[in-house]
Chain length 388, copies 2
Amino acid sequence: MSRFAFSILARDATTAARRGRLTTPHGTVETPAFMPVGTAGTVKAMTPGEVSGLGFEMILGNTYHLTLRPGEEVIRRLGGLHRFMNWQGSILTDSGGFQVLSLAGRRDIDDDGVDFRSHIDGRKLRMTPERSLEIQAALGSDIVMAFDDCPALPSEPERLAQAVARTTAWARRCRDVFPDDGRALFGIVQGGDDRALRAESAAAITTMGFDAHAIGGVSVGESAALSREVVAFTAPMLPESRARYLMGMGTPADLVAMIGHGIDLFDCVLPTRVARNGGLFTPEGRILIKRAEYKDDGRPVDPECGCEACRCYSRAYLRHLYMAGEILGIRLNTLHNLHQYAETIRQARRAIEAGRYAAFRDAFLARWRDTGSAAAGPAGDIAGDEGG
Amino acid sequence: MSRFAFSILARDATTAARRGRLTTPHGTVETPAFMPVGTAGTVKAMTPGEVSGLGFEMILGNTYHLTLRPGEEVIRRLGGLHRFMNWQGSILTDSGGFQVLSLAGRRDIDDDGVDFRSHIDGRKLRMTPERSLEIQAALGSDIVMAFDDCPALPSEPERLAQAVARTTAWARRCRDVFPDDGRALFGIVQGGDDRALRAESAAAITTMGFDAHAIGGVSVGESAALSREVVAFTAPMLPESRARYLMGMGTPADLVAMIGHGIDLFDCVLPTRVARNGGLFTPEGRILIKRAEYKDDGRPVDPECGCEACRCYSRAYLRHLYMAGEILGIRLNTLHNLHQYAETIRQARRAIEAGRYAAFRDAFLARWRDTGSAAAGPAGDIAGDEGG
């Protein structure tokens, strides 16, 4: 088993974009990389073989959802999350922080941790930095996220400052109990949309010896434009030599824009959740397959796309499956959207390698006309249907 | 394109079982054969590639469901049902008779046809023998079923006799308008559980020049034992040289028993519907994956099974997916059940070829301990969830 490592293979000529490689105990992950979200031990509607066949090398698992059901001890006894769900690649687990904090009216936060009630059966539970790492250890993930305090936006300045202080204290507690066993522990920078708080959080987190750093607290209620602005000023606060992970964001266009700011790693529920709601990403944005105009449309969703849905089926057929509530429709839509994300990432990597990332990004964003919300919320939020 | 044909390749030594081959405009179908049900233009939760990969060469499509949604003219314009759903093999379509008749309180039957209201939007529509064949022609199926009157069981003797008379008259009208274009038209024998009525119906239907014959009106409310009894006395009334199709039945054990009476062709919603409800067929019957005993069970569903679900996943994982309502659970359960049906059919074919069908059948039935109902209803009944 390899120990965690990150190396930069190439840098773009004019932007902060970089082409890198993560090494984990379960293999390598070329970056920039997008992680499909496997909330409850499955990337919704997909087999692991389909996910890896699309080119993804790492997925995200949700600590909150898996501790509630089936319980991390079940997964540990069955050999860990990789074996439980038959995923051969790498796994990053979130800390559960966002989920328990999003349980409005069902949780009570203090400086030590969070009391909460299960959204499934109302059980009273407690999450702390130590407990989060204990669960993530039982799951056996390759990359462990520190437990953080992630307020929604907008929040009062006092709340954002409190979250930065707590996130710092909790990050230290996570670091202190994390074993040196080859897996990685990532620290998370909070601070909301306040540049000074972001700088304070980054200064604290990046001097604690984490293997890499994440930007949390974006895509939590604010506009996509504000999300991008926060990332633009926060990314340069993170050390250049370590991987940078932007949590819970966004559309293909968001990915392309944020890679230009030096982000290496992404996760988002959008491709899978939008698919289940009949939304299909294309290089122009997205189409809603239920629209009557597609009833007789024999063309593929995206004539440029090489995915199974576009090679074998018409818009009319996908519309029919959606209208009839057929599972195959969700499958094909999900496959298509994940393929679009994978293809976008492949194009971005090639552009960085060629030193022409700015031109690629500008052309991509000029073509993009999506009017849908970019803010999907962090992976596995309770309100969304990705929450199980 | 080949014209429809049926040839018998081998006969069992001691039972009425036979090993045959259907030829249709879309290829050959080895028999005995089981047709997965593709109610609304999809075998629920499966891709066509998965269905053919399991060894199935023909599927069933539902005239009633497809005329309501998306409408047969949409499918015709897009090149027919094969192309619409990307199925390369053969397709048999039912007549819609059972579905419109099962719309209790929403239909009015007379000697000419049936007035009914759509279960989707309440539209008033009419189905007649001629209209059923018109829809099936638009769908472009390889095997067309005559429009029949199929009463539930139990029914009064007068109702069963009326259904036989109507089915005969409607069969003649279907035959009179069916074009000689290489596709096949199958006649349906009714008569409920009344041996004399079955003989009367068989005598009428089998002298009209149909390409093959079906036993309808079984698995419509009666016990599995009575279904098997009806098939046992009706099958010998059908000409030996033509294919025999038992509509809408049953479990793997039913298939094995009925093949011994000379049935060549089956369809049933059981493998797909039971899968969606967490039932998994094994050589011993079926297991309900939600049971608490499987929570920590690291074994595959059926250690003898070679399907992807059994090769790659534990009972504990499949239980978790079911409890969490995950689509992947439905996919894997469906794949497993269809594999069990395919494997049962393959074993039956080999036993017939070897002239040892009785021994195979008796061993299979001795091992079978299923207590679930065998009666699933004809494909695509409105009450069931296969009805879209």
